[in-house]
Amino acid sequence: MSVHRVGFGDSYRPREGHVSGGRLERVLRSGRFAVTAELNPPDSADPDETYRRALVLSEVCDAINATDASGANCHMSSLGICALLKAAGYSAVMQISCRDRNRIAIQGDVLGAAALGVNNVLCLTGDSVEAGDQPGAKPVFDLDSISLLDTIRGMRDDGRFLSGRAIKTPPRLFLGAASNPFAPPFDYRPERLAKKIAAGAQFIQTQYCFDVPRLRSFMSEVRDMGLHESCFILVGVGPLASSRAARWMRANVPGVHIPDAVIARLEGAADEKREGKQLCIDLIQEIREIDGVRGVHVMAYRQEELVNDIIHQSGVLKNRAPSIRAAGVTPKTEAN
């Protein structure tokens, strides 16, 4: 299997002022507009399935998110995907949800991931087990996203487990958290972001944005509070496959808000799938103009093949080195 190395760019030693040696942190701190993308985990023990999906994403993104049974549906684990991604030289964001593992398991996984070369983790509460394919499972929620952030920060900065026991070589991780500006209570969401930053969040990947006015008002509060200066905000986007898919998502995926106008736009189009893709491009172009937004996070559920086009056509990478701009080119050295 040929390994595409465009996503390559992590280094072992962090630069001055960086907490990780990761490419995502470097791109963000250097002021460039970052792109991350979510990999839909396979229901398969075949590594090639993961690599096939990673390949199309890696051409256009700075790090690939390995989801942790999102929507409470069982798939290959985030640590497993990260191990595969790292073995092929990709940058990975390991998502950690509090739903399935207690504090002992999570801290162990964090050390394991760091040893595998993972540079970024995204701390999530996790969707409830009722949302997934095994609703009878026992929900754990021993930690929550904020105590999880605080725990990993303690492991990294103080070199200690939650118990206070020392860690010989602390993990070097760029810490991320999620934010959902589109869920009530709206006026609390910026405060919650502040709390996550206080707990250690350095970058944020938001829930899907289909409502730009709401994002604008969220961001304006974020700017008033100065939060955009203490974390890097990447806004979640994704193509909708059809108006039916949009309705289904709105009703069944927790936390996803899709305004009626968006569904109407899809319904009014001759080719709904194409319109969904165009809508995503339009959204990215609008979002990138908002002050304080430092990147986008693309979640293309079962439509990874569209991500490349979407990112190129949106123009967000146009100031980048050719290695990441030109699809299909395999650079020998990383341009960062």
């Binding site: 969707d127 934010s179 405060e191 707990a199």
Partner: protein, 154 residues
């Protein structure tokens, strides 16, 4: 009871005052209580606490009461038992992601905190729960702590 719990949130301000007053009474009584032996008081205290807070707040006796920092809303009623604020799944009508007919506990908490004097903005970072404390009296523990009894506070 759900209804009672929501009424309590709506009255977060008077309840906060009541709490502060009770805290002061407790502190004044602390020397006498210590004389009785805090360990001996654990069972009756836990029983009384569970009965009264259960009726008012649907208290789940987690053993580390945070009501005064969460808008007088017990976060253990959140199906995910989150203690640091709402998840991202809150429905557009403010109801819970998991239990569609229930108002999200944290939507109520946010409203309650806004009514409180010292409620803050739910900004206090809560450490993960010590699950060994489940069922024990949080009042007694906090009293012992405030009265400077290091041993019983643990």
């Amino acid at each position: 009871m759900y209804l009672m719990r929501r009424i309590a949130t709506r009255n977060a301000r008077p309840l906060e005052l009541l709490y502060l007053a009770l805290g002061r009474v407790g502190l004044a009584l602390a020397p006498a209580l210590k004389l009785c032996g805090l360990e001996r008081l654990e069972r009756p205290a836990a029983w009384f606490e569970s009965w009264s807070k259960g009726a008012l707040f649907d208290c789940r006796m987690c053993g580390r009461c945070v009501l005064s920092k969460t808008g007088m809303t017990c976060p253990m009623n959140c199906p995910k038992q989150l203690r640091n604020g709402p998840c991202g799944g809150v429905r557009q009508n403010g109801n819970c992601e998991v239990q569609a007919e229930m108002k999200c506990v944290w939507v109520d908490a946010w409203a309650g905190a806004g009514r409180m004097h010292r409620g803050g903005r739910l900004a206090t970072l809560m450490a993960p729960l010590d699950h060994r404390l489940k069922g024990s009296s949080a009042w007694l523990r906090s009293l012992a702590k405030r009265a400077g009894d290091g041993d019983a506070a643990r």
